[in-house]
């Protein structure tokens, strides 16, 4: 009897314990591992996109430079923008959604773990496919907004736009599935007592972002489908000769594109809304206001798209409407900024690297917001449109806002993920080189823009008088590059030998800090009961929760087993899309058949079958 139980216990452990090895990572459906994979992949693409940016900056170092050709320049800025938006900023946020959200709401995993793996693999394959264009020398070259007509076969006969349109639509599929997954997870998998208005703000902003994902991406998907039909089957959606209106593309693109800005920025707002209270040792000031402001931003984000189109001739009435709605969106954003500052006011502030990045975000985002309000006014925009002023503005928003937010999250949650702190010393270097490099790169662009330097042109004349500004930008760009390498060094080094962190590395208030670092693969031995917004800050509540979350379970909770069908399906989807490039209508059907096979195998696979032997 005792022998039997013992051997049963061993097999039990072999089945339930954390699996190791490369294959276990490839087939994993654990949200924490998928989060890590998302993060590392997005860092890889950050290096790719950064390299592209540096090549652009070298070219612009002096007037009439011939370091790279105009054609290559077009490819570089297009791939830089596309990479940074779709392969870096969005997935890096998704990395945090994955790792953090289930822990913050007290869930064992996301609602659909295998779908989650599928999202990741489609993202990876889609990103690789997009970048494969470099190897055939035909990278996309019509900018990340791909305005119609320029993308028609008439003006872009090569494969460049094909890679772009197909690559982006693959990535869209991944994001929509992610949105569905996180909405369901947040609605349905909250631990007992975790009411909506008790959720940490990062989870809240993930929730709003997910809604934006499932509503904005179908619109761009349709636009991309129409473009693909124009290119591959001679449809007429953007064919002016057939009576089509190329501004339709602009509308569809920006109906997606503006919410996209909030898809990017809300997760960063969520991160710092968690970080600032944790390091100020005070609950977030005006929690409900911050939540509602976030939801409101999500809504208004839908009504302002045409401020990107003041120069497309919509007429004064439409222009005025979009000026007004655009100005309105500044209000909830301003409200948030006030709440962050009020949280810090009178708090016991600790300036860790995570906190530094959060505060840096508030400062830089405000600059970007102000220049944004400037060109939200149609007449001003007519002046600044497509100049480097715009480039300065959106980098203050996306790098100053989004990327700094992600770095803040990295320093904040790294101890949870690895059980070790990132080095604060290297962190300080990372932070200050980022701040200096960033401002040196992008602040002068306000001036080069105002002096009339157009964006998306591969060189400029010395008479324009912008050489000095451009040189500052280039030097700044390299400092930014170095700062990224410092971060990478810090991550790799500290993951191995950083100072050990306990379960609550920072004395922070939310649920993810109640479990061991790194967490068990099942997260919570039993579901904890939540009674307040800051459960870890109320001693009796914390004790009760820790009694549950730090306990060793009598029997480990059953988790869905690994699966490699998500990879089969993801590779099938990518292959199907890529085979469209052959231009022969039936060839993609091969990919489709393979995908269908994968879907069926997946559908009939029992995610819990690996447990059968232990019953």
């Amino acid at each position: 009897m005792s022998v039997a139980t013992e051997s049963a216990a061993t097999t039990h452990d072999a089945h339930h314990g954390e699996p190791t090895g490369l294959w276990s990572w490839i087939t994993t459906v654990d949200h924490k591992r998928i989060g890590i994979m998302y993060f590392l992949t997005s860092i890889f693409f950050l290096l790719v996109g950064g390299l592209e940016a540096l090549l652009i900056r070298i070219q612009l170092f002096k007037p009439e430079n011939d370091f790279i050709s105009a054609e290559l320049y077009n490819q570089l800025f297009t791939m830089h923008g596309t990479t940074m938006i779709f392969l870096v900023a969005m997935p890096m946020a998704v990395a945090f959604f994955n790792y953090v959200v289930p822990l913050q709401i007290g869930a064992r995993d996301v609602a659909f773990p295998r779908l989650n793996a599928l999202s990741y693999w489609i993202y990876l394959f889609g990103g690789l496919y997009l970048n494969a264009s470099w190897f055939v020398g035909q990278a996309p070259n019509t900018s990340w907004v791909g305005y119609a007509n320029l993308t028609s076969t008439q003006f872009s006969p090569g494969l460049n736009v094909d890679f772009w349109v197909l690559g982006l639509s693959i990535l869209g599929v991944s994001s929509i599935m992610g949105g569905v997954n996180f909405i369901t997870t947040i609605i349905n998998l909250r631990a007992p007592g975790m009411k909506l208005m008790r959720m940490p703000l990062f989870t809240w902003m993930t929730f709003v972002t997910s809604f934006l994902l499932i509503t904005a991406l179908p619109v761009i998907a349709v636009a991309l489908i129409m473009l693909a039909f124009d290119r591959f089957f001679s449809a007429n959606f953007f064919n002016v000769a057939a009576g089509a209106d190329p501004v339709l593309w602009q509308h569809l693109f920006w109906i997606f594109g503006h919410p996209e800005v909030y898809i990017l920025v809300l997760p960063a707002f969520g991160v710092i809304s968690d970080v600032i209270p944790a390091f100020s040792r005070k609950p977030l000031f005006g929690y409900p206001v911050v939540v509602y402001a976030g939801v409101l931003i999500g809504f208004i984000g839908w009504g302002v798209w045409s401020h990107h189109m003041f120069t497309s001739g919509m007429g004064p009435i439409a222009d005025s409407f979009f000026v007004a709605t655009t100005m309105i969106i500044a209000i909830p954003t301003g409200v948030k900024i006030f709440n962050w500052m009020a949280t810090m006011w009178g708090g016991a502030i600790r300036f860790t690297t995570a906190m530094n990045f959060a505060v840096g975000l508030v400062a830089l985002f405000t600059v970007g917001g102000l220049s944004g309000v400037m060109h939200a006014s149609a007449p001003v925009d007519l002046q600044q449109h497509d100049s480097y002023f715009v480039v300065a503005h959106f980098h203050y928003v996306i790098v100053g806002g989004i990327l700094l937010g992600m770095f803040s999250g990295l320093y904040y949650w790294f101890p949870k993920v690895t059980g070790r702190y990132l080095s604060e010393k290297a962190g300080a270097w990372h932070f200050w080189t980022t701040m200096i490099g960033f401002n040196l790169t992008f602040f002068p662009m306000h001036f080069s823009g105002m002096f009339g330097m157009p964006r998306r042109t591969w060189t400029y004349q010395s008479e324009l008088g912008v050489q000095l500004y451009n040189q500052m930008s280039t030097v700044g760009g390299f400092i930014l590059g170095i700062s990224t390498l410092i971060m990478l060094y810090n991550v790799l080094k500290s993951a191995k030998s950083g100072a050990p962190a306990g379960s609550n590395a920072w004395g922070a208030p939310s649920l993810e800090w109640s479990i061991p670092s790194p967490p068990h693969h099942y997260n919570f031995p039993a579901l904890p009961e939540v009674r307040s917004r800051e459960p870890m800050w109320h001693d009796d509540e914390r004790a009760a929760i820790e009694a549950v979350t730090l306990a060793h379970p009598a029997k480990e909770p059953e988790m869905p087993g690994p699966s490699f069908w998500p990879i089969v399906v993801a590779s099938g989807v990518t292959a199907t899309w890529a085979l469209v490039m052959t231009g022969v209508w039936w060839v993609p059907l091969i990919g489709l058949a393979y995908t269908t096979f994968g879907v069926f195998m997946w559908a009939f696979e029992d995610p819990f079958k690996h447990l059968e032997s232990s019953h």
Binding site: G179, M226, N236
Partner: protein, 199 residues
């Protein structure tokens, strides 16, 4: 031992709203699909009457014929309801019969569509002919692809039922397929009204 397993299983099925996650996720997906079809339909409406060369919609559309195929699809939604009822009651014969009806009606609708596409093509309306051709074929084509996918899905359920693998405890599978099917149906009604009836 058995008890411990039961407990673990229990909190496996725990959800904070009491709603089933699959159903919730599927509703979310349908929300997303609404925007997908919404954009396609809007594009069709924007380009309505903008074609420079014919044939125009009045030259090709055959409203009585499409009314029949629309009726067929509507009836399939009714059959879907009955099929779900059959599965929930554990009545295998009934569920198989009604699932079979849905599949046949769905396939009939697709048959009408193939006929229609073929006919339009022969009177000179290709995907590349004019704006009507592009926006019409892409819109109805994507709808048709959804119907096709639904037919495949339902066929899978039919086979499962035939093998006795669709007990009432698995009614949810049919319910979700039904949600999808009704959605595809509703989209068609919108298309039928906006594209065919209001010209």
């Amino acid at each position: 031992m058995a008890e411990a397993a039961a407990v673990a299983h229990d909190d496996h099925h725990y959800t904070s709203t009491g709603l089933n996650s699959w159903k919730l996720g599927f509703w979310t997906l349908i929300g997303s699909e609404c925007l997908f079809f919404g954009t396609l339909i809007s594009t069709y409406m924007v380009y309505k009457g903008q074609s420079i060369v014919g044939p125009f919609s009045g030259d090709v559309f055959d409203i009585p014929l499409t009314t029949i195929s629309t009726f067929v699809l509507l009836m399939s939604s009714l059959a879907m309801v009955l099929a779900l009822d059959g599965v929930q009651r554990g009545n295998r014969k009934l569920s198989m019969a009604w699932l079979g009806v849905v599949i046949v009606l769905g396939a009939t609708f697709l048959g009408f569509q193939v006929y229609e596409f073929n006919h339009f093509y022969h009177v000179g309306l290709g995907l590349d002919t004019n704006l009507l051709g592009s926006s019409f074929y892409v819109l109805t084509g994507f709808h048709g692809a959804h119907v096709f996918f639904g037919v495949v899905w339902l066929t899978t359920l039919f086979v499962m039922s035939a093998r006795g693998k669709l007990p009432p405890s698995k009614a949810l599978n049919v319910e979700i397929a039904g949600l999808y099917w009704h959605f595809v149906d509703v989209v068609w009604i919108v298309i039928f009204v906006l594209v065919y009836l209001i010209q």
